[in-house]
Symmetry: D2
Subunit: 363 residues, 4 copies
C-alpha cells in the first residue's frame, strides 16, 4: 500500500520523476463539489519551481489534466484521476552516476527493495516530484475542507539559523495569515524571509544545501474529529506527512518541548467563553486523546537538507562494491523547505478530510 | 478504525480503564510460533505499576489469559485473543469530578465525540491502561521479530533536566543494551536513572508531574523493509507510536536537529566493509525513502507530563458550562515515561512486524 | 485479514471450536446505542442447538459476556468485545481421527496452510461454532439497522426436495414475516417446515446429512446505499456471507435464472406511485449498479450438506500418506441449514451496517 | 472504496464511459516482472467490440498507454498506471433520454446516491466500459500468476437455451482449453458457439437482448491459499467478480446444486496418488474452508441480459416524476456475455494474485 492513503477517501499516487506522467486518483470524493480550477492552479504554483530563484533548474509547468471524475469542473462521484505530463526530462544527468549511491537518497534502499529493477532516473518514485500529485489531491481536499469552514496554513518556521515568528497558538491569526498569503516566500515576517533566501543562496554558491522546519496550523476544525489509539489526528497526519521526502520529525502542540515542562506548566486550563469551551494555552496543539479539541491544530515538521549537493562526497560504487567519490551535477533545490510548505498543507488536508468523513457518519 | 492497526498483521485493542477486561486480538500471526510465556510475563512487568515506587497506586497484576489462537503455547493460525481482567477498580474516584474537565486529558474531546456516552471512569478507552494490551501484542511481535534476528530496545533519554547517554547510532551497542537490561529503571547510565527518580519523587511531592523523551533503537533489520510515500517505516511507526497516550512528537535519526545542518553535514557517507554497504554516520536513522537501510533504526519520542496532578487547576464544569476549580485525587503516575518505555518497543514491534510481513512477499 | 471485516465498522472474530472462549470485537459502533439484551439473547437462541431435535448433541448455552464497549447496556464508543466461553467440549472425539482427513471439511487445506500447527479439535477456527460470535455482531448490527428502519429476515427456501414459498419480491411481506417469526422452524409455510424436518430426521437415521437454500430479504433500505464496482452491495454481502461455513453460492434478485430471460423479460419497469419511484417486478433484487434501489433487497444462499456423516467414507491418512476408510462419530448437525438462517441475517447485517455508515457520510 | 480492491495488491479503477480517459493503478506489483505487451494486447482484444458482429457499434481501439510503473516493459516497483483514451464518443445519444430512467440500469440508483451530479453519458462510471481497465489489471495479474504456474480460463457455459460442455472438474482439461483458445467465440464446443451467436443475432433483430452463464477454472493453484471466514477464496473472488456489471450470481464447485445432494453424495472423497492428496470428485470446486485444496478451482457466474433494448419500455421521467415510455437507441451489445469472459478471468486473477501475495508471506 506504498502510495495509497486513507479509509473513506482513498488517495493513490503514481508516477516517477521521469515517467511519461505523474498523477493521483481520489476515490470517494463527494459528488457535486465544484473545483475552483484557478485556486488549484495557484496552489500548484506554490510548489512549482518556476519563478523561484532558490529552486531547481528543472522547470515543469505542472499543468493538471483531469482524466475522470468530473462533469465540467464538478465532481460526479466517480473516482477522480488527474495527471501531469513530465516534460523537462534529462535522464542523461543520471547516467554517469547510476551505480554510485547518492548519500541520504533512497538509491541504496531502493536497490535492496527492488533488486535493481527500480527506475533510477531522477529518483524514480522517490523523487520530490511525487509531491506534485500530492498537491493536486491536497488542493482539492483543502477546497472541500474550506467549504466546511476548515482552513489550513503552513509557513517556514526556520531555515538554518533564521527563524520566522510562530502562529499565535490560541488566538486570532488573521494578520499573520494575511501577511503569509501576501508573501511569495512563505513566511509571516518578510524580513526573515529575505534572510532565509540569503542563507539558501549562500549554501547554493557553496554547492551545499539546507533544511528547515515548517509550522502548520488548522483553524475551524470542529471538536470531536479523530479517534483514540491508532486512528487519532496525530497518527493520521504523521502517516500522511512522512510521505513528503526529507521529513524526519513531527511534533504536535509544544511537541518535544513538552518534555521540559511539569504537568502544572504543560496542562492547558479550560475556561468557558460565550458558551464555548476553550483552553488558556494550547500546548496540546488542538488534539487531546487523538481527537480535535476545537482549539487551533498546530504541528511542526522537520526537513533535512537536500541530499543532492555539488560537493564531493564519499560513497560506494554498487556494481563494483568498492568505495568511490561522488559529485552530483543534476538539477536540484539547494533547499526544499519553501516548496515543501504547500506539500505539508496538502498532506494534512488529505488526512483531515478522510477523518472529517469518518466524523460525519453519526452526525 | 480507532483501535485497529495493520495490513497483514491486524491488531485490535479493546477495553476501558474500568471495564470487565481489556485485551487484544492479533489476526494473521504465523502458525507454529511458540510464545515464550515467561518472556511475555517479564515484558508485562516492565509496564506494570507493581514494585515501581514512582508509579500509580493502582496495582494490577496484569495476568494475561489467552482465549484463542493457541494450541498449548503455540500459535495455530487462528486469530489470537488475549485478555487481562481489571481488578483494582475504584470508580468512585471519578464520581466527584465527572463533569469537571481534567486539563490535558481527553474528557472534553471524548464528550464532543461521543456526546456524553463515553465511559468516564478512569479515562475509559483513553486510559494509559490500554497500553497493557498494546504490550501483549508487542511482546508477541517482539518475540517473532527476535526469531528473525531483529531486536528492539528503548530507554529513557530524558526526564525533565536529566539526560541518559544515547545509543551509539552507528555501531555496537551490546554494552549499552546489557546495562539497560540489568537496570530496573530503563536507562543505560544507572546514575542518571537515580537522578531521574529523584526528580520524579520531587514532582510527586509537589503534587506535580513530569514528562520526558524515550529513545528506541532497532537492530538487525534487513535493508529493504518499508515502502516509499505513505507506507514507509516512519509513517507506520508514527501511526503506531501515537497510540500511546501522552506522545506529542516523534523524530527519526537526528530528527529535528537535521534542520540545523547543511547537506554536507547531514548526509551520511556510504562505504563498503566486508562486502556490506554501511554509512559512516547515521543521521538518517536507518531509513531512506521510507525503507530500511540496514543501519540501526533509531527514533525518539516526546511524552508530555502526566495530565493528572494534585495541584488545583482552572477548569470547566461541563454540565453547568461555568468555570470551576479542580483538584484531582485519583491514582496516577507522577511520570509515565518509565512505564512507557516497553510501550514504545511494543508499538514499534507491531508496526515493524506488519511491514516485515509485506517485505517477505516477494522474497 | 482472515477474520476481520469492514471499513468503517470493523468486525473481528476469534476463537476455535474448543478454545477457552470464542468472541468478537466491533470497532466504531455509534456511541449511545442501547443494546436490547433480551433481543440479543433471543437471536442467539435461533442459532443455538438447544431445543432443536434436528441439531448436534453439543449443547452450548452461548451466554454472551461483554468485556468492553458498554456503559450499562449502552455503547460508549470504545471497541466492544463480547465473548462466549466454550463449555461442552469433547476433544477426545477428534483424537482417533486426527490424521484422517474428513471429506469436504477443511482438515486438508488447514494442514497445507498452517503446516500442521492448526487446532484440529472440532474443526478449530473453521468450525460452524465461529458463527456464534458472527451472530453476536449481527444481532447488534440488526438492532442498529432496525432503529434506522431497516429490517432483515431470512428463511429456509429449500431443504433437499422440500421448498418453502418465497418472499413476495415487490410488495408487502408482513404476513409472511409474521408467520416466519411465529414458527420455531424458520419457514413461512409451517407444513413445509414439518416435511423438511422429516427429511432431516430421515437423513440423520441413515447417518447421512442434507443441505439447502436460504432466502434473505431486507426491507426499508433507502435508495443510494452501496458503490459501483468493488464496493457494491452484492460484493460486500457476498464477502460477508461466504464467512458462513458450507455456503457455496449466492445470487441476488432472480439470480442464476436471469440467464434464461431476454432483456425484455428481465428488465424491471419503473413507475411512479405516491411520488416514489418503484419497479413493477424485482428481478434486480433491490440492487442496480451495486447500489440499493429502495425495492426489497433479496438474495439466496446455497449451503452444502453437513460434511460430517456417520457413513463410512474413503479418505487419506495424512501422516502415513495412504488411503484409509473413515467413519465420523463426533457430534454434528445432520442439516446445518435451519441454524444457518440467523447467520445469514447476521452476515448481511454486518455488511449493510458498514455500507450504511459510508452512506451517511455526505448526507 | 468503490473502485479500489485488494490488500497487498491494490487495484484502483477510474474513468467514465465518456470521460477523457479510463484507466487503472496497480500498487505493489513485484518489481522486475516483464509485461508481455503482445499478450496484453491479445487479452484486450478478447474484450474489445472490434471484429465482433454480435457486439456494440461503439468501436474503441483500447490502446493501452502506460504512464508509470515501468522501465521499458518491466515493472520497477512504483505504482503502475495505465490508461485508455476514450475516442468513439457520442454523448448526444444520451441527451434525449437523460431524465428517463433506463430499466435495469443504474440511472435511478446513481441519481439517489449522487443527487444528480453523476455523469449520465454512456452510464458514466457504471458503464461496462470500466471493464477495460479491469482487463488491463487482470491481464497483468494473469501473466504474473502464469509465471507461478497458475492458469485461469473461462468460457461461455450458457446463452439463453444453448449450453456449452463443462470443464472436466477433476482432471485434465488440456484438450478443452486448446479448443477454447482456438475459437474466436469463447466456447469449447464450436458448434454450440454458432448456435449461441444465432440466438444473439435473433434477439438483436427483435431489438431484445440475452444473458448467460460463464464458467471459470483455475489450474495450478497450490493448496493453502486463502483464509477462513471473511478472507477466503470465495469471499474475495465474489467481491471482485461482482464488479462486472450485469453479474447477479456466483457459485463455486457444484454451487446451488449442492442443495440437492446428501452429504454422502456431495462429499469429495480423498485419495493419495503419487504422494499427492487428491479428491475423486470436485463438488467443492477446489476450495475448502476458504482455502485452496489443490484441485481445480471452478466457479460459475450468472449475467443478466443487457438492460439496453430497443423495445419500448415502461419507465419514469425523473424530472417530472411521471410515468413515461422509453425506447433506447444508443449503441449497445445485444448480449454482453462473450465479452465478459475475459473480464471474469481478469477479476479472478486480481483476487487470486492478491491472495497469492498473502500466501507467500510465511513461505
Amino acid at each position: 500500500m506504498s502510495s495509497v492513503f486513507g479509509k473513506n477517501l482513498i488517495v493513490t499516487i503514481f508516477g516517477q520523476s521521469h515517467s511519461k506522467a505523474i498523477g493521483v486518483c481520489l476515490d470517494n470524493l463527494p459528488a457535486g463539489f465544484e473545483i475552483d480550477m484557478e485556486d488549484l492552479s495557484d496552489f500548484m504554483k506554490r510548489r512549482s519551481s518556476i519563478n523561484k530563484p532558490y529552486s531547481t533548474k528543472r522547470k515543469e509547468k505542472d499543468q493538471v489534466e483531469f482524466l475522470s471524475g468530473l462533469v465540467g469542473n464538478t465532481t460526479c462521484g466517480a473516482p477522480l484521476c488527474a495527471i501531469i505530463y513530465n516534460n523537462d526530462i534529462k535522464p542523461q544527468d543520471y547516467e554517469s552516476i547510476k551505480n554510485i549511491l547518492r548519500p541520504s537518497h533512497a538509491d541504496y534502499t531502493a536497490q535492496m527493495k527492488y533488486k535493481g529493477y527500480q527506475d533510477p532516473t531522477g529518483g524514480g518514485h522517490f523523487s520530490g516530484r511525487m509531491t506534485a500529485p500530492l498537491c493536486i489531491a491536497g488542493a482539492i481536499c483543502l477546497q472541500i475542507l474550506k467549504s466546511e469552514g476548515i482552513k489550513i496554513h503552513a509557513h517556514i518556521k526556520k531555515i538554518y539559523d533564521v527563524e520566522d515568528i510562530s502562529f499565535n497558538p490560541i488566538g486570532n491569526n488573521e494578520d499573520n495569515i494575511k501577511k503569509l498569503m501576501e508573501n511569495d516566500f512563505p513566511v509571516i515576517d518578510i524580513n526573515k524571509g529575505i534572510l532565509m533566501q540569503e542563507q539558501i543562496h549562500k549554501a547554493s554558491q557553496n554547492l551545499d544545501s539546507l533544511g528547515g522546519i515548517i509550522e502548520c496550523a488548522v483553524y475551524g476544525l470542529p471538536a470531536g474529529i479523530g479517534d483514540p489509539m491508532f486512528d487519532g489526528i496525530e497518527n493520521n497526519i504523521s502517516k500522511a506527512i512522512f510521505a513528503i521526502p526529507a521529513v524526519k520529525g513531527i511534533e504536535f502542540g509544544n511537541g518535544f518541548s513538552c518534555a521540559d515542562l511539569k504537568g502544572s506548566e504543560n496542562n492547558d486550563a479550560f475556561y468557558v467563553e460565550n458558551n464555548k469551551v476553550l483552553t488558556k494555552t494550547n500546548n496540546h496543539g488542538g488534539i487531546l486523546g487523538g481527537i480535535s479539541s476545537g482549539m487551533p491544530l498546530i504541528f511542526k515538521v522537520a526537513l533535512k537538507a537536500t541530499p543532492s549537493i555539488g560537493i564531493e562526497q564519499d560513497s560506494v560504487n554498487l556494481s563494483q562494491m568498492k568505495n568511490e567519490k561522488l559529485r552530483i551535477n543534476g538539477r536540484h533545490d539547494p533547499c526544499i523547505v519553501p516548496r515543501a510548505v504547500p506539500c505539508v498543507e496538502a498532506a494534512a488536508a488529505i488526512a483531515l478530510l478522510d477523518m472529517f468523513m469518518s466524523f460525519r457518519i453519526w452526525r
